[in-house]
Subunit: 205 residues, 2 copies
């Protein structure tokens, strides 16, 4: 513990700036998710945060840039989840199930939800390459976990590419309909979704 000083250190100032940037992005992501990207202006975001437009523009010059940063946050969380899954013991199926559960939970959070809800078609073309590379990493991770699980025999799958799309589709869906005040928690929904993907609908005889 250091004594409190009225003068902030360089570290404190940087931490404060980071906190402000995060607050801008969080507010923007929530507004994009709730009313749609096209229906949200940076002025709206400023009003929501109770700050001036100039404050927002100081951190992010354009709405496109704000969206890109929101998407990068969400995609970054998903890539972190893939790294966590890779480092886990157990069967390929265990790692796949872990990643799918984390994926579902993250895409019910603000930034992950933004990745799913705000179509990439909203992004300006200069922001595309950065987005696409991260997005590709996540699609590749899902395919990789599935493939490893098929290889070690802990999972059976005829068409892996199509299964990846189907899993992503099933898991992305809560980003559109999940009610944060609903009866089930994000983790419960994620768990049940993954169980559904693992078991399918056929009765086990």
């Amino acid at each position: 513990m250091t004594d409190a000083s009225p003068f902030r250190t360089a570290e404190q100032k940087e931490a404060e700036r980071a906190a402000k940037r995060d607050a801008v992005l969080s507010a923007a992501a929530r507004m994009f998710n709730e009313r749609g990207f096209a229906n949200t202006s940076l002025d709206d975001v400023a009003a929501q945060l109770g700050v001036s437009k100039r404050t927002i523009y100081h951190y992010y010059p354009t709405k496109d840039r704000v969206l890109l940063e929101c998407l990068k946050k969400g995609l970054g969380q998903l890539l972190d989840a893939a790294d966590e899954a890779r480092s886990r013991e157990g069967s390929g199926r265990d790692r796949l199930a872990y990643f799918l559960c984390r994926y579902a939970v993250i895409t019910m959070d603000d930034f992950g939800r933004c990745v799913i809800r705000t179509g990439v078609e909203q992004l300006k073309s200069e922001s595309m390459p950065e987005y696409r590379e991260m997005k590709r990493g996540i699609d590749a991770a899902m395919g990789e976990f599935l493939h490893e699980a098929v290889k070690d025999g802990s999972v059976a799958c005829e068409n892996e590419k199509l299964a990846v799309f189907a899993m992503a589709g099933a898991l992305n869906w809560p980003a559109r309909w999940h009610d944060p005040d609903g009866a089930l928690s994000k983790e419960e929904i994620a768990g049940q979704l993954v169980e559904f993907l693992m078991q399918g609908l056929s009765p086990r005889t």
Copy 2:
């Protein structure tokens, strides 16, 4: 066969008007799907069809109205598929699988794709009730087919409500990524998706 006459009958005129309305809606749905609703104007649709703006406005006064009609076309096709499924013989599972396959194929077509790709948040509030009622009918149909299949024991499912969302999510996904020029036909993709939902990923022992 009647002799050709330079004077069109009332039926011919009505058929011609219907064909023109359909052409407007088809062109609009394709443009909404390709470049996004916000990025498409009725002027763009007119240009695409090689007609004047006034022609478009003669049929549809607003872009919202065009979207609503596109959505109603897609939703109508899905409701028809539910009716077809209901009239089929076989187990609950057979009817469920039939409906899911048709659902997937329709949502890869122009109007069905518009239902999935152009979020309901784009619709003006006065158009909502009509949209919502049709949409509810489709969600209800999927739930009904699943429930009947669970009841006759041809399908096993722990949480039917969540399974409906997961199935819809998995089946809606091709509306976003399906390439009409890809190796698999719509029907093949639909068949494999439904097989995946029925079997899940667990190896059968």
